[in-house]
């Protein structure tokens, strides 16, 4: 990225001053090295978002930001319905409520020992993954409707997961305001065999070891100790969310045209929050969030069955479940006044500060867990929300790509990655060698630098570093 267009406010905070149609500045949180590695398109997209109606305070980008669709991935923007604010399907993304959940296992790396390979095989067998995979759970119309309204609670009541899991999810596993009638038949059809599937691309199921603790108090609250084994799940709302994004992109393009909203680029298609299309999208998007929460809960059940088969002494308890592609209605203080805002986080994680009433009671004194996923072979992190978070209580979600999939397949071969990671003691399971090459760890930014920048920028604080032991990749 060309840094001359930015004003340096600190080592981590860089501003794009208001120009042209921007109604607020753009603010990018990153070190100079991370910024230089970012595409210029990130700054362009941050500025474009700053020109959307009703945006409040600033258009933000997190340290893991990269070129996205309309919004940058790693973008955060809040809109005020009282000021003509909008909701944007592109601002949420097509993989609605894609997110990460971590489970403590109650066992140590030493206890897994030689059974790691069998555990990886069993997880790979029981959790459907990869292009075209289908679930052993088939959803009829009535069940799908109920699932869209009740989210993870639907899953628990149908024998997938445990009731206590719900305490450790955003919105306790059920987002209010879902409207199944605002979801197309195509979206419903696309989902009927996909509940409990991981998907492909950067989605994964990973057995990890707690390698370092940075914040003893928060780690103790979250149940993390050095040497413990953690299971991490990264996936989203599957076909339902993908189709809702597709459907409403088209609807919002038409709405913007007829509603007089000038779009800097078409992918920023949006609708006023108080319009019929805006309300319909929010209802459909919330149905997809509930679908994602249920999906990760069903996968959790399959994973528990795998552990029960291989390591019966393990007790998988949910640490937390976070979504990083959402638009959520939240209360925030703006210039000392409370405001009701619709916060878009596209490739960004909510990071409520200690004391926030929406954090699970057991964690409220230390802040919301922020689960940052790595790519296979690299570290993942557990962070915690901090007081005074500058971007509507938001933080990073992952490392972010630096190389395209095509470039990755030219540079690496899947089998070579299996051997290379195997030599470091990391087991890989995947139905597709090409998929592994596209997801080569070298195609991503250095996650350590991204997390350090998030901590230095006051977005979140470091709690624990996790290293991979075995990764199931779609």
């Amino acid at each position: 990225m060309n840094l001359r267009q930015l004003v340096r406010k600190s080592d981590i905070e860089w501003w794009i001053p208001r120009t042209g149609k921007m109604s607020v500045p753009g603010i990018i949180f990153a070190t100079e090295d991370l910024l230089r590695a970012m595409d210029d398109k990130v700054a362009e997209q941050v500025a474009n978002v700053a020109a959307l109606p009703g945006i409040v305070t600033a258009s933000f980008a997190m340290p893991d930001a990269h070129w996205g669709y309309g919004f940058p991935i790693g973008g955060v923007a809040a809109f005020d319905p009282e000021a003509g604010g909008v909701v944007s399907a592109g601002g949420v993304g097509f993989d609605i409520s894609c997110g990460v959940r971590n489970l403590c296992t109650g066992i140590s790396v030493g206890e897994v020992g030689p059974r790691l390979a069998r555990l990886a095989d069993t997880l790979f067998r029981l959790v459907p993954c990869g292009v075209g995979s289908t679930s052993r759970v088939h959803l009829g119309p009535a069940d799908l409707e109920d699932l869209m309204l009740r989210g993870a609670r639907w899953a628990v009541e149908h024998g997938f997961g445990a009731l206590d899991d719900l305490l450790f999810m955003e919105e306790q596993g059920t987002v209010a305001g879902a409207d199944p009638d605002a979801v197309s038949q195509e979206a419903k059809h696309r989902q009927r065999d996909q509940l409990g599937t991981l998907g492909s691309g950067n989605h994964y199921l990973e057995v990890q070891a707690v390698a370092e603790i940075d914040d003893e108090e928060a780690a103790a609250a979250y149940g993390l100790r050095t040497g413990d084994v953690v299971l991490s799940v990264h996936c989203g709302s599957r076909g339902l969310g993908h189709q809702i994004g597709t459907d409403y992109l088209k609807t919002m393009l038409a709405e913007a045209k007829h509603g007089g909203i000038e779009l800097p680029e078409r992918e920023l298609a949006c609708a006023r929050l108080d319009s019929q299309t805006g309300r319909a999208y929010l209802g459909a998007m919330r149905a997809a969030i509930n679908c994602a929460l249920a999906n990760r809960e069903v996968i959790t059940q399959f994973a528990r069955e795998a552990f029960a088969e291989v390591l019966p002494s393990a007790d998988l308890t949910l640490l937390y479940d976070v979504s990083h592609n959402t638009c959520k209605e939240e209360a925030h203080d703006v210039d000392g006044s409370p405001r009701r805002l619709f916060v878009h986080r596209k490739g960004a994680t909510r990071a409520f500060a200690p004391g926030h009433p929406e954090i699970a009671a057991a964690y409220r004194h230390v802040g919301q867990p922020v689960l940052v996923g790595g790519s296979m072979g690299t570290a993942s992190y557990v962070l915690a929300g901090t007081s005074g978070g500058p971007a509507f209580a938001s933080a990073v979600h992952g490392a972010g790509r630096t190389l395209s999939r095509h470039a990755a397949t030219r540079r690496w071969k899947g089998q070579a990655i299996v051997h290379e990671l195997g030599s470091r003691g990391i087991l890989l399971r995947s139905p597709s060698m090409r998929g592994l090459a596209e997801e080569a760890p070298g195609a991503y930014k250095d996650i350590d630098s991204v997390v350090d920048a998030a901590a230095a920028g006051g977005l979140a604080r470091k709690v624990a570093k996790l290293l991979p032991l075995a990764c199931v990749k779609g």
Binding site: G68, Y69, G70, G90, G93, F94, D95, G130, V131, G132, T134, E186, H189, R190, G199, S200, G201, G239, H242, Q243, G245, T246, L249, K250, L253, A254, E265, R266, E267, A269, S404, R405, H406, T409, P431, S432, M433, R434, G435, E438, G474
Partner: protein
């Protein structure tokens, strides 16, 4: 990831863009012509028509568990009639890379080039 099709006609460029989309998932040459799916799309302009067309290809790949190796497109004003020719995905044989979640409006462009040929492109979300 971007997909781009070139053709002597707008229809051919749309067909080639769909082939490029399939190539994100599997090599189109490895797909056997066993089944056909008919789709009807609409769009107020060429770009929105391309978005609807590629969205339909993504939808039928995902909902039917199919991959396609040949496309036939006919455009009449704001309407497109398309044929998708392919087979059920066979993971072992096709070795799919990544699933396409959606066609996006990013870098969405349909244009007639100086030499009279057509270009149709957009970024797809994977």
């Amino acid at each position: 990831m971007g997909v781009r099709g070139y053709g002597r006609t707008r229809e051919e460029a749309f067909e080639q863009a769909a082939l490029a989309l399939v190539a994100v998932v599997v090599p189109p040459a490895d797909v056997e012509a066993r089944d056909r799916v008919h789709v009807a799309c609409t769009g107020d302009d060429d770009e929105l028509l391309l978005l609807d067309w590629l969205g339909a290809v993504v939808y039928h790949m995902a909902s039917r568990g199919m991959v396609f190796g040949r496309f036939e497109v006919h455009i009449d004003g704001a309407r497109l009639a398309g044929e998708l020719v392919g087979e059920r995905l066979d993971v072992a044989r096709h070795q799919p890379g990544v699933e396409v979640k959606a066609a996006t409006a990013t870098a969405l462009r349909v244009a007639r080039l100086e030499d009279g040929s057509w270009l149709a492109q957009c970024v797809v979300d994977v």
